[in-house]
Subunit: 249 residues, 2 copies
């Protein structure tokens, strides 16, 4: 029951403006989106809505997104943020579990779910990548559960900032790290299970203590990463043994 449709699926659409260049064979999940057209999503626009038929899988190409759930009485929860390279919709065979909205003008590619699944079906490597992908999503969700169940406001914000650093990757290995915050304070609050006021207060408190500096509205500089990591508690306990903490007063 093998179908050697790799060639037919790739068609002969040229890869347009992709940062990746040529794609001889889909060796990663991302590569599957190579031939797809890049769509522009303006700020606030949704990629898809909660409970929609999950008929498409998306790759984020540029910008940033939030995944939103809303309770019947209006309470809002953001279950995650999406950044370039992320794939969304792969783990929901039925309905999308939340609405995905662009935080800033963004770009994405889409693939019909049947195409995505067919491709994954053909390749052992892609299959294990998919499982690994779902596993990573799961452990992120569990980390969030720990944060919401047992961390206080400061610990939540500290964990959040560090997770952003980890995902966006620190460019230089300088002691201070600049982090872009494409989301608003409200988005952070709804992600961290806090209010906008509490998030704001924690930011100023951390700034006064010299842990961070809030340059522009949507940018934070982390001045003392190790101190912040202490605040964040066990933030995803890697068994790193290079703990080496700087006890600067």
């Amino acid at each position: 029951m093998h179908i050697q449709s790799n060639l037919t699926l790739r068609n002969d659409l040229r890869v347009t403006t992709g940062p990746g260049g040529s794609h001889p064979l889909p060796t990663t999940l991302r590569d599957l989106f190579g031939p797809q057209a890049t769509e522009c999503i303006e700020q606030g626009q949704a990629l898809f809505w909660q409970s929609d038929d999950a008929s498409q899988v998306f790759e984020i190409v540029a910008g940033a997104f939030r995944t939103v759930r809303v309770l019947s009485d209006g309470r809002r929860v953001i279950t995650g943020f999406l950044f370039p390279g992320d794939i969304v919709g792969a783990g929901s065979p039925d309905r999308y579990p939340g609405t995905v909205e662009a935080l800033v003008p963004s770009k994405a590619r889409r693939l019909p779910r049947r195409r995505f699944e067919a491709e994954v079906e053909h390749s052992h490597s892609l299959r294990s990548q998919l499982v690994a992908h779902l596993s990573r999503e799961m452990s992120a969700a569990q980390e969030q559960v720990v944060l919401l169940a047992r961390k206080n406001a400061e610990e939540r914000v500290a964990s959040f900032l560090l997770s952003l650093v980890r995902r966006m990757g620190r460019s230089s290995q300088s002691p201070c790290i600049a982090v872009e915050l494409p989301m608003t304070r409200l988005d952070m609050a709804d992600y961290l299970g806090l209010t906008i006021e509490t998030v704001s207060r924690v930011f100023t408190r951390l700034a006064k203590r010299g842990y961070i500096a809030t340059a522009a509205r949507h940018e934070v500089t982390i001045l003392r990463p190790t101190a912040l990591a202490l605040l964040a508690v066990d933030d995803q306990e890697d068994d790193r043994d290079d703990v080496e903490i700087a006890w600067a007063s």
Copy 2:
């Protein structure tokens, strides 16, 4: 293309807990564990520990388990409970994300992960079941995120009780439902992001209002399921279209 017809398998219970029925072909993930020996795990004993090499996959046969994470300073979080029929360890290719401990004397079967993966590799049907399984785990985790981020103590307890009813299955369709609680108040508290005292207070409050009755220590009767469902808010918003809101005063 041949994509359809992989959804034909219904996930839920067929003849389970039968003492060693015949297993002609593994058609469900559970069937894979059929030939394995059933191990007895006594109360408090762990099936595996957080950060252990995830070299085994388990099927819960009898009893009940909790999945525990502990922060460095001792704060405890229970990320989930496991009941007969559940499969655990399938979604963690690397390390187990938490410690799984028996709440009561329990039984389980184990399969080496390589065997599990090899079997799944052979069968298209098992593969899609695995994805469905991971997807269900994911949506449970997200439901927990919503609960922890935005629900108050009463709503959390109400949601919890209803989720137990949903999982254990109401035996009779009588208006009142007896639910067994194999876990202690502390377990519930650590699952719901509350303290033991708050859980206790909410139980008595719900009992005084006639929503539930606490018969024995480890048993609750739900007297008014629909009232409790209202309290639980949007508890996993099925897209029921019989919304029909009563705008009483």
